[in-house]
């Protein structure tokens, strides 16, 4: 056997990749083609550890001047993006979360939306988020609550979205009195532009045009969740939060949703919470993972396994600076529908 034959056979088991194995590359090219190429991932982090949905949730802080600046800001987490791509073969562990496995089994049982290019997905939800206020009188905290309705284009980022909000009565942040300003904010706001900029890298996109092309194979979806992540606890945490990015104000076909739940079920450290309550007071069962001083839960209807919402519950008082068991953040996805158009956004004040 001559050396060229040996060379020809060396690593010949590496297969010619199919379209699925080129999705990440194709997506980056397509983003560049559409002129929306995301900032290179290695730029480092912008705006701290904020998750996309966390930032979006702040969007309703209409009357609070300081928060209003942050309101339109959607910032993706770049924390792990600067790492070198890991050389580890990522094998999806056996699913440990029965809640998520059942949610996957049931994913196809709901009527499916079929949004078309040019249309909008409309998400109605109720949210509760910590708000901070810094005035001449001092520093205060409370939990602001609102109903929000968001129109997101079938294809496009959050800057093309529109939001309309209605304020609900605030709740106290554990250990803090509600400041009077919390009651003085505008009762409603919008329709206004959802975000002024959206720097999410391609693989963190969650518009329908993107989510509907995600893999339907759980192993591939698992790899997608870990794109550019290393291994270990920090990577698992980030992957768990990326699941949230695909559940919150995002919609995908049943096949992708089933794959997402099966992939999420395999993320190490996921536990089951028997009794969880979403922001609208609906009770359910949750899959959860402890992150820092709190437990991040994705809540499902106990009978139908429909996704209800999420919440964060304090598990470490010192780290979270709130008593164990207190709920600081929660959402409830009330309705998802399709619309031909979004309301005209008011110009920025």
């Amino acid at each position: 056997m001559d050396e060229m034959t040996v060379l020809d056979r060396f690593r010949s088991e590496v297969p010619r990749p199919g379209p699925d194995d080129l999705r990440a590359e194709e997506a980056r090219l397509m983003a560049a083609i559409s002129g929306a190429e995301p900032a290179p991932a290695r730029r480092g982090r912008i705006g701290g550890p904020g998750r996309v949905r966390g930032r979006l949730a702040i969007g309703l802080a209409g009357g609070l001047a300081a928060a209003a600046m942050a309101a339109g800001t959607v910032v993706a987490s770049h924390d792990f993006a600067e790492r070198k791509p890991d050389q580890v073969t990522r094998i999806m562990p056996v699913a440990a979360s029965e809640v998520l496995t059942r949610a996957a089994d049931n994913a196809a049982k709901f009527p499916e939306l079929h949004p078309k290019p040019g249309q909008y997905l409309v998400f109605e939800s109720q949210t509760m988020n910590p708000a901070e206020l810094n005035t001449a009188k001092g520093h205060s905290r409370y939990l602001e609550r609102s109903i929000r309705k968001v129109w997101l284009p079938v294809e496009g980022d959050a800057t093309q979205g529109v939001i309309e909000g209605k304020r609900l009565s605030p709740k106290p942040y554990p250990g803090w009195p509600i400041p009077p300003e919390a009651y003085q904010t505008e009762p409603s706001n919008g329709p206004e532009k959802l975000a002024d900029f959206d720097n999410r890298v391609e693989y963190l996109r969650n518009d329908y045009a993107y989510t509907s092309r995600l893999p339907t194979d759980p192993q591939k979806m698992y790899e997608h969740l870990y794109t550019r992540l290393g291994t270990g606890p920090k990577a698992d945490i980030e992957a768990w939060q990326r699941v949230g990015g695909l559940l919150t104000e995002a919609y995908m076909p049943a096949a992708q949703r089933a794959a997402l739940f099966r992939a999420a079920a395999a993320i190490p450290g996921v536990t089951t919470i028997d009794d969880a309550v979403d922001a609208a007071g609906r009770r359910g069962i949750a899959a959860a993972k402890v992150i820092g001083g709190s437990r991040h839960e994705y809540i499902f209807d106990r009978r139908t396994y429909r996704y209800l919402g999420e919440r964060e519950v304090v598990t470490d008082a010192a780290e979270a600076q709130a008593p164990v068991g207190s709920v600081l953040t929660s959402t409830a996805l009330l309705k998802v529908s399709v619309a031909d158009r979004a309301p005209q956004a008011e110009p920025h004040k």
Partner: protein
């Protein structure tokens, strides 16, 4: 290793169209991404290949205005860009080859090994070949693998590397001699074949 390029060498017109209609560039991706990714994966492994292939097409897309439309086939251009990007990973490439040489377990093929059950004969020579590839000067390795794995002709490899055809030929000849020596085989018919195929 063949002298002629595969048909469908109409890349120039897709690239030309993409100057006014950027989406036309997707056609270039569809045609060449699978083979390019397999090539880069064989050199660097799956994860690095994803980066290199994505960057290759992004770079090509940004440079499409400078593409010489007289070149119908874009492969030399694309493989040339990829070769520059592969060099960023040269230390990993060598590390993987050395690991394969030392242990017989190749980190590059590990993710794919379940799919193949017919690499036995190659595997016997695998560690020695890996060692020989690792020891090659990188310019020699680039030329050899562009031809052997990338399927480029000598003139195409020369275009990709920005060197003269004669340089490619001498690099490949020297690389092959080295492999032959490392594999401990002498096969006089090789030289004859080389002239016939690539003369």
């Amino acid at each position: 290793m063949s002298e002629t390029s595969p048909p469908g060498a109409d890349d120039a017109s897709a690239i030309e169209r993409s100057r006014s209609h950027p989406e036309a560039f997707a056609e270039v991706f569809r045609r060449h991404a699978p083979d390019l990714k397999r090539y880069v994966t064989r050199r660097l492994g799956r994860d690095a290949a994803e980066d290199v292939v994505a960057e290759t097409f992004l770079t090509a897309f940004r440079q499409r205005d400078r593409y010489d439309l007289a070149r119908r086939d874009a492969r030399p251009w694309l493989y040339g860009i990829a070769t520059n990007l592969v060099r960023r990973y040269v230390r990993e490439e060598v590390r993987h080859l050395r690991a394969a040489e030392r242990t017989g377990a190749d980190p590059v093929t590990a993710p794919f090994t379940e799919r193949s059950d017919e690499r036995v004969s190659a595997q016997a020579h695998g560690p020695r070949l890996a060692g020989a590839l690792a020891a090659l000067p990188k310019g020699h390795r680039d030329a050899l693998l562009l031809v052997a794995w990338g399927g480029l002709t000598y003139p195409e490899a020369a275009q990709a590397l920005g060197v003269r055809v004669g340089t490619v030929r001498s690099r490949i000849n020297r690389a092959r001699k080295r492999l032959r020596r490392e594999l401990g085989e002498t096969n006089p018919t090789l030289i004859v074949r080389e002239e016939r195929v690539h003369g």
